[in-house]
């Protein structure tokens, strides 16, 4: 897939909660084909502390309207600056980058498990699977109800289960404690979120021989395989999160 560097227009900046917002983007030329799990490297203008680009997963794509969306959590100066963008502003992206989640065979029982803003790539994935005739259950974990990101879009696609650490919505506890994981037996789990969460999910899957893919968020210098900064140790030696990943099957990870 050809990578592009392109100025896109902001079509929307919607605040979902204190820390999280959605940026809508549209291009002049028609969008390149993108796959769920892929990401964009964003140049943050006007933030003196932000020297390198910042990576964000593709959250949702609408080829018909020639737009796509990013779901971004404010984590520091760069994301703070992005949160102030207004409709009509311009943003420079390099995209689409990285590999993508695999598409399982028909009739597999699929779970998408997302923690915090790790839900970002999962909406695109859910829609993509759906368009391939695949249904997935969706399990989302948050610190508390105020941090819930799901705005009905997931429920339109599949059964949504929620866990909050303080029990303020859905099941109380960590995502990995949710009864769904005890009740159901999945064939494939796609997971994105904090590393500790993904590791717990990986252990769960290994035990049960469930196929599992996780999306990693290593620090990136370039996003295109040139700097070798984003390495992850695998059974096949060092691999690059930006080009060999960000999606890895847990079988190659040394977790």
């Amino acid at each position: 897939m050809t990578k592009r560097i392109e100025d896109l227009k902001i079509t929307e900046n919607t605040r979902l909660n204190k820390d999280i917002f959605i940026l809508g983007l549209s291009g002049n030329s028609s969008l390149p084909e993108m796959r769920p799990g892929q990401f964009a490297q964003i140049k943050v203008e006007g933030s003196p502390g932000t020297f390198l680009r910042r990576p964000f997963s593709i959250h949702d794509v609408d080829y018909e309207r020639n737009t796509f969306r990013l779901l971004i959590q404010i984590a520091g100066d760069g994301t703070e600056t992005l949160s102030k963008l207004r409709k009509g502003d311009t943003l420079n992206l390099i995209y689409p980058l990285g590999n993508s989640f695999s598409v399982p065979e028909k009739n597999k029982r699929i779970l998408l498990a997302g923690g915090g803003c790790g839900v970002a790539p999962l909406l695109f994935l859910a829609k993509y699977l759906k368009s391939h005739g695949l249904n997935a259950d969706i399990l989302l974990g948050y610190r508390n109800s105020e941090r819930i990101i799901e705005s009905g879009e997931f429920s339109a696609i599949g059964n949504v289960f929620i866990a909050t650490e303080d029990g303020s919505e859905g099941e109380k506890g960590l995502l990995t404690d949710h009864p769904l994981l005890k009740k159901e037996s999945f064939d494939v789990i796609y997971c994105c979120g904090p590393v500790t969460m993904m590791k717990t999910v990986a252990v769960y899957c290994r035990k049960r021989n469930i196929s599992c893919e996780v999306s990693l968020e290593n620090l990136m210098g370039c996003g295109i395989g040139a700097c070798l900064c984003c390495v992850v140790e695998t059974t096949e030696g060092n691999m690059l999160t930006c080009t060999d990943g960000p999606v890895f099957n847990i079988n190659v990870l040394k977790w």
């Binding site: 003196p48 680009r53 990136m220 370039c222 395989g225 040139a226 070798l228 390495v231």
Partner: protein, 309 residues
Amino acid sequence: MVNLGFSIGDLRFKNPVLTASGTFGYGSEFDDFLDVSLLGGIILKGTTLEPREGNAYPRMAETPSGMLNSVGLQNKGIEFFEKNIYPRVSSYNTNVIVNINGNHIDDYVGLAERISRLDKIPAIELNISCPNVKMGGMAFGTNLGATRDVTRAVRAVYPKKLIVKLSPNVTDIVSFAQAAEEEGADSISLINTLLGMAIDTGSMKPALSTITGGLSGPAVKPVALRMVWQVARSVRIPVIGIGGIMNTRDAVEFFLAGASAVQIGTASFIDPGVSLKIVGGISDYLSSKGFSDIKEIIGIINRQGTGKS
């Protein structure tokens, strides 16, 4: 028409913009963003005799106007290079230069010998300045005797163009440049990264697995420019300026200071097409100032006064 060409001895470069080792992969990572063949040359990522896994993650930290890295020369070794990379990179219609690294003089010599047999590689860059390798590496670049020894040894076995890349982590950069020149280097490139460090105050731990790492980017430009100026006045061979070049203006500063060519490093991470833009930018700058050949501006500050306007 402005003439941008420059040469190291009889090796011609169509323009003076090269890409810096370790920041441009093997070129193909950038094929979607520019036509690599239009650059003056590319310096491939650091190569060693044996495969190296490099240092543990995290290997990178952002700093004010710069970044620290401690990649540690991850590469698959010369054999893999010969078999798998060389055939690919030799299709580029520009000077493809290999950056060589070792822990011992023998490593450098062995690499130089093998690379001298590769027809399409017209030059090597001798990296004696990598701060991210425990033994050897920077030790060569910060020791005058070792710099002499390794340059002499490689010169003895390598008949094509030999560029020696200097470490900025020294008291007297000029003596290192002169030592390399005396031992037969055809060109000097500088600077490699400055040894630096960052700490995460949240976790109270160093940001890099190796604690210290190499600083690159705009932050180092003033130091790089100073060293290039000092060196260019003190040697007769062409000097290639490196360090924090982000745009045409930065590149031009290096030419005015005495560099015959430049290498673009960290900037390619932020704009993968920037090196080619700089080629065009230099041409425009020269035209706007009424020059027809880049040679006219090289080291021009040594012939002008100082101060504003």
